[in-house]
């Protein structure tokens, strides 16, 4: 290390002669004093290189000079900054003066003067990042975001340094009026996440610290931050060093060597005209005798406030602020004083200036009005905009004290040290400062308030609590919500520190009951953690704890634990017993407990409430008690009870449409059959002997004419009444051996009757299976095949982001997985990984299509996929004629019996189908998932992509459960008794059903609003029909609602001029429909002569809807009205009567 004068002189000579020398060696090998001496003797030109161009003249020069950095040498970096500042002290002093004027003019709103001052700084001193930021602030204030962006563009064109470009970009974003501060913070978080693999911790620290005005933690890599800023101007170094030192010297970290830093300050305090250094010495140096900071204005204002001389205080502070608007230590005194009066800020200051804006924002926050959170956001935004000015600090401090129990010491320090005077609420500084003795008199409110703060900062919670307890003498101050909240916050802090948790909870609860709201400053995570740690102990005997957790808006699981522990500690079996078993005088609290704590979500984990129905019953019981206790809540309670019963109805209805989806509208089929072949059946039963042979009804199979014709002349017997199966089998065996026994039940009829029977059976079967309006095919298609089953199954994979749907941007999928991947190479995401997902998607599509293809009626011998083979063998048909149907002469009974036979066949198919789904289909899905697992293991290394592997595990469980659920569909739908039901419940049922099929579409994507002005209920027998209607129409909405522009849908149900019911569903759609097409649709939908052509509907589902209503006379008189205007599609159906309603 170069330590002696001679070596130093040699080095200086080398530098002076322009010979090569190592800046890095100077920085790291010379001590502070040696460098200080060296810089006195080297030429100015060399200084510029040594200090990395501290006074850049152009934007292009910023961040271009070489800097040197060795990680972990914070004190060296600090020294280096001190030396830079010392050397350029004149420039800094000039800057400080001009900046003071700039702040003053800015607060008055004189933006032109501000501009001139900034130019003056650039000309007289240098161009700086601070100056560029300040100009962007002016651009935003003068010309709005557009102006700010234009200036950014111009800067980015000029700047060479990529770092500077990024810094300017985020600065511009921070200033944009429409971007709230929390949103800006999330942009920074996103930036850091995006670059998590590229950025070192040091760089991430730099971005966080530099870009966010809200960070005062001491664990940042300050060595790197100082080094990085060294490539900016000396102005930027000066500003950043002050902030960092404030944080470091309040961190009480031995490694920072506070003394080391303090030793450097006297030099700087002598040369730089900035109270910051004097106050730092005053606070931390043992030998300081600097006491006067010219804080007389502050002392007067504080004394006025302390003596309750509010008017004097307001007059004085406002006058001072008009004279020196950046005396920000007066801001809070002014607004606190104002809060005791009915006056407005306008009475003291003119509207329109930044000063006015800041003071009114502070005022709104301390008044804690209803929109308190928004008001905090407002001051936070102002702090972000003006973070280049010192006056942003009271805004940041207030944000902290409103959001958290304590303002961090580093911020208090920074605020205090930057201030021209002592800060109002800082007791430690109050103790250290001189001349405030009068505040120690206990009678004075402010004095006592400061003493309480002082004890708390000294961790003396007993004394602090003692003072708080006698503080009630100042009743008049508690009329002011700002002081009242402060008092409660401090008391809460003491209770927590003294582990008096029940009292802490009681305090928060009481505050809440008084004001009906709670502020974030009264939220304590420490209190929550401590109480949870005491799980099961007697603290839970108090009702305050579950109430506190509810007020704190904690998760249901935590609130449930508090309730359960409360019940156990008080030996109470259920929440409904609390009122009768728990001794409580405070009715308000009991009501809150019943209403807000014992909600369904909070009690449903209880093992004693085994089903959702029991949970609902418990809740309704609690609500009924609540009505008795507080009749004024009846209306609110009744709404909730109605909501619960409605949900229960929806659940029941949903189960109804969800389970057992195999359905045939047998009444409809029967009507068609009766109409078509009623006469035929008459003729059939009349074939009793050869005297009546209606040959016209016979159909002969080609090639078998002779055989059949010869059979026409024979007899065939049926049994009336039918005989037992065993008896029938014996008779059949004997007959095959040509032994014909005369059975008393046997009735002989011509063979032609059997031929007619076969015909009739086939006609009924075909109608039952294929009728377009009522048959199995229609319902299979509507309720299972089209959309429903494939969506339901694919949804499992969609939910886990494993499939790439048509029209979905692959980048989105990659981005999703990028966020879930850590510590492994992400580059494969765009290539092999996405390919693996594409392959998997196609596998899933194929498997699903295969499964769906099984759920179809077999219509030809070549169809090998369809499993609904309902054909009967000759033997079965023969048996059915002889021993089951042949004797039936009543057509209705005959049809019912055929239906019964067909249902048995369908049941056999369903059994096979369920087995095939459980085995074959599930196995295929599972092996596809396994293949994907192997593939991804190959791409990223076995087990490396932990999150993905866990997702595959969930997917396996989910697909098993989904298939299990879908099996319920493959049951024959029995008519379940649903009583009359409100149409709103039907819509809710349909939405709940479609949510299951489409990834919670009505919660996550489409905002569906219902406007129901129809008070009658729908008859139970029409429930399914209306569900089918809404399922189809809302299914269409899901398919066609516009993706981009806030998808929405509105359903309105009203009475109409005909005395009937009108349903109107509209949604925004990306598709445009021509007027002609709409006209054709309307014409065809309203055609009641059966002339409509199925091909017109495409995949619109309109034909399905029409078919729903064509069968039943109840719906005969209706009118469809479709319309499409300006991307809004409307589907309207007008029922001119309402026989379906009661």
């Amino acid at each position: 290390m170069i330590q002696n004068r001679k070596e130093r002189r040699i080095l200086a000579l080398k530098i002076r002669k322009g010979k090569k020398y190592s800046i890095s060696k100077i920085k790291y090998n010379l001590d502070y004093i040696s460098i200080k001496r060296l810089i006195e003797i080297i030429p100015k030109s060399a200084l510029n290189a040594l200090f990395s161009n501290p006074l850049p003249r152009k934007i292009t020069d910023i961040d271009q000079a070489t800097t040197y950095f060795i990680n972990g040498m914070l004190l060296k970096e600090i020294d280096w900054c001190f030396l830079r500042i010392l050397k350029y002290n004149e420039e800094i002093n000039h800057f400080l003066k001009l900046r003071d004027s700039f702040e003053t003019q800015l607060l008055f709103g004189n933006y032109d003067k501000c501009e001139s001052l900034l130019n003056e700084i650039e000309i007289d001193i240098c161009i700086s990042y601070w100056g560029l930021q300040a100009k962007m602030v002016l651009a935003e204030l003068n010309a709005g975001t557009e102006g700010n962006r234009m200036l950014l563009k111009s800067y980015q064109k000029q700047a060479i340094s990529p770092n500077l470009k990024i810094m300017l970009y985020y600065n511009s974003l921070k200033l944009e009026t429409d971007i709230p501060s929390n949103k800006y913070d999330s942009y920074i978080d996103f930036h850091l996440k995006k670059h998590s693999s590229d950025y070192s911790k040091m760089l991430a620290d730099y971005v966080t610290f530099k870009f966010s005005p809200f960070r005062f933690e001491s664990n940042f890599s300050f060595d790197f931050i100082l080094h990085q800023d060294f490539s900016l101007s000396v102005i930027d170094t000066y500003i950043e060093l002050k902030k960092i030192l404030s944080i470091l010297i309040s961190a009480n970290d031995e490694t920072i060597a506070e003394e080391y830093i303090i030793d450097r300050i006297p030099d700087i305090a002598l040369l730089i005209d900035d109270n910051f250094w004097k106050k730092t010495l005053d606070l931390y140096s043992k030998n300081s005798d600097i006491t006067d900071f010219g804080d007389i204005e502050f002392k007067i204002a504080l004394k006025n406030l302390a003596d309750n001389e509010i008017n004097e205080c307001l007059e004085f502070t406002s006058k001072e602020l008009l004279n020196k608007p950046n005396s920000y230590n007066l801001y809070q005194i002014f607004v606190e004083a104002l809060s005791f009066t009915d006056r407005k800020i306008e009475d003291y200051l003119e509207d329109g200036s930044i000063l006015y804006l800041i003071l009114s924002s502070l005022y709104q926050v301390i008044r804690k009005e209803q929109n308190h959170s928004e008001n905090i956001e407002d001051i936070s935004k102002l702090a972000y905009i003006f973070d280049i000015c010192d006056f942003h600090l009271p805004l940041i401090s207030l944000c902290y004290s409103e959001k958290f129990p304590n303002v961090p010491e580093s911020l208090r320090n920074y605020n205090y040290l930057l201030n021209r005077s002592y800060s109002l609420h800082d007791a430690i500084h109050f103790e250290k400062g001189k001349g405030f003795d009068y505040l120690n008199e206990k009678k004075l409110f402010i004095g006592q308030k400061l003493q309480i703060d002082y004890f708390i900062q000294k961790n003396d919670y007993k004394n602090s609590l003692h003072l708080l307890n006698v503080f009630n003498d100042y009743n008049e101050y508690f009329k002011n919500i700002y002081y009242e909240t402060w008092y409660n916050r401090k008391k809460l802090h003491c209770f927590i520190e003294l582990e008096r948790f029940t009292e802490a909870a009681e305090l928060v609860d009481n505050y809440y009951f008084k004001h009906q709201r709670i502020f974030t400053s009264l939220y304590s995570q420490r209190l929550v953690d401590k109480i949870i740690e005491l799980d099961g102990e007697s603290i839970f005997k108090s009702l305050y704890i579950p109430i506190l957790f509810t007020i704190y808006n904690l998760s249901s699981s935590i609130v449930y634990d508090a309730i359960a522990n409360f019940l156990i500690q008080n030996n109470i079996s259920s929440v409904r017993e609390v009122r009768s078993s728990y001794n409580i005088d405070n009715i308000e609290m009991l009501c809150f407990f019943l209403q807000k704590v014992c909600t369904i979500n909070n009690i449903q984990d209880s093992p004693y409430l085994r089903t959702i129905e029991i949970v609902e019953k418990e809740r309704i019981n609690v609500l009924t008690q609540l009505k008795e206790l507080k009749p004024e809540l009846s209306r609110e309670v009744n709404v909730e009870i109605f909501d619960i019963t409605q949900k229960a109805t929806v659940r029941y209805c949903l189960q109804n449409i969800y389970d057992s989806r195999i359905y045939v509208d047998t009444n409809g089929v029967k009507k068609v059959i009766s109409k078509d072949i009623g006469d035929y059946f008459e003729r059939y039963i009349n074939i009793t002997d050869f005297s009546f042979q209606d040959y016209s009804i016979f159909t002969f199979n080609k090639g078998q004419e002779d055989e059949t014709y010869s059979k026409l002349l024979t007899y065939i017997g049926y049994f009336k009444p039918p005989i037992s199966l065993k008896e029938y089998e014996i008779l059949t065996i004997l007959s095959e051996q040509n032994v014909e026994l005369i059975h008393p039940n046997k009735v002989e009829v011509p063979y032609s009757r059997y031929i007619a029977f076969q015909d009739i059976f086939e006609i009924i079967k075909n109608q039952f299976l294929f009728d377009e309006d009522y048959g199995l095919k229609f319902f299979l298609s509507m309720r299972i095949r089209h959309g429903t089953l494939p969506n339901f199954l694919k949804n499992v994979f969609d939910k886990h982001t494993l499939v790439i749907n048509e029209g979905i941007n692959k980048v989105k999928i990659i981005d999703y997985w990028k966020e879930k991947i850590f510590d492994i190479d992400k580059s494969f995401l765009n290539t092999s990984f996405i390919k693996a997902l594409e392959l998997f998607t196609s596998e899933i599509e194929n498997i699903t299509s295969e499964g769906v293809s099984w759920v179809k009626i077999k219509e030809s011998e070549h169809d090998r996929q369809s499993m609904f083979d309902i054909s009967l063998t000759e033997h079965d048909l023969f048996y059915n004629f002889r021993n089951r149907l042949g004797h039936i002469e009543d057509f209705d009974t005959f049809i019912e019996e055929v239906f019964e036979i067909l249902w048995i066949k369908i049941n056999e198919v369903l059994f096979k189908l369920r087995t095939r789904f459980t085995n074959e289909l599930l196995t295929k899905y599972i092996s596809s998932i396994d293949m994907l697992h192997n593939e991804v293991d190959t791409i990223f290394g076995e087990g490396n992509f932990v999150f993905f592997n866990d997702v595959l595990v969930s997917t396996k469980t989910d697909i098993q459960n989904a298939i299990q659920k879908s099996l319920n569909w493959f049951n024959i739908s029995k008519t379940k008794s649903i009583g009359e039901i409100p149409i709103s419940a039907i819509i809710q049922t349909s939405k709940a059903y479609l949510n299951i099929l489409n990834a919670n579409v009505f919660e996550n994507r489409i905002n569906c609003v219902e406007k129901i002005f129809f008070k009658q209920n729908i008859k139970g027998e029409y429930f399914i029909l209306f569900c089918d209607f809404f399922n189809t129409i809302l299914g269409n909405v899901i398919k066609h609602t516009e993706e981009t522009n806030k998808p929405k849908c509105e359903i309105s149900i009203t009475g109409n001029e005909y005395g009937g019911l009108t349903i109107n569903v509209n949604n925004n759609t990306a598709q445009k429909y021509s007027k002609n097409l709409i006209e054709v649709w309307n014409k065809l939908l309203n055609d009641n002569n059966g002339n409509y052509d199925a091909s017109f509907e495409g995949k619109s589902g309109f034909l399905k809807i029409k078919k729903l209503f064509t069968g039943d006379k109840v719906f005969q008189d209706y009118l469809f009205q479709l319309n499409s205007e300006e991307n809004i599609f409307t589907f309207k159906v007008v029922f001119k009567q309402k026989y379906f309603a009661v």
Binding site: D535, G536, S557, D561, A564, N565, I568, Q604, D605, P607, R610, T611, I612, R651, L654, Q655, Y658, D659, K820, I926, V946, F947, N949, D950, V953, S954, K956, T957, Q960, N961, Q964, K965, N968, A992
Partner: protein
């Protein structure tokens, strides 16, 4: 010996059950598929061993509207402690992380050991590709049978 399995994955449930029945005689296995079914079984009956999944549906019904409980297994342990139940509990899970990666099974294991030291007996990582879980489970049951 009486073992309760609380598990909602049918294949996993069946694998665990067959492993037990093929390796041990006189073991009575009771099965539950949800948090509610499981917690009631635990509170009403005594078991020598409870094999617990972590993520569980709230109710038994296949048709459910309630959200699944990410930490259903942990919540069952919580109820056991609250009701002073003493059965030995082993978590058997396929997951490495829970709650969208916010906590690893290892950390959760440490938490559970700390909060429920007398009933929680660690976890077995169930991985179909490997047989390790089978050996571990068999060893555990053997140990308990001693």
């Amino acid at each position: 010996m009486k073992i309760l399995i609380i598990e909602d994955d049918p294949i996993k449930m069946s694998n665990i059950e067959s492993l037990i029945s093929s390796n041990f005689v006189n073991v009575d296995v009771v099965k539950c598929i949800s948090y509610m079914g499981g917690v009631n079984e635990v509170l009403l009956n005594e078991f020598d061993l409870i094999l617990l999944d972590m993520s569980l549906p709230l109710y038994d019904d296949v048709f459910q509207t309630a959200k699944p409980k990410n930490f259903g297994g942990r919540d069952i342990l919580k109820e056991m402690k609250r009701h002073k139940k003493k059965s030995c509990v082993k978590i058997i899970t396929q997951y490495n992380e829970f709650d969208d990666g916010s906590i690893s099974m290892k950390d959760l294991d440490a938490q559970l050991k700390n909060i429920y030291p007398s009933i929680y007996n660690g976890y077995i990582h169930y991985e179909t590709k490997l047989n390790l879980w089978q050996t571990e489970l068999i060893d555990n049951i053997k140990e308990l049978k001693k």
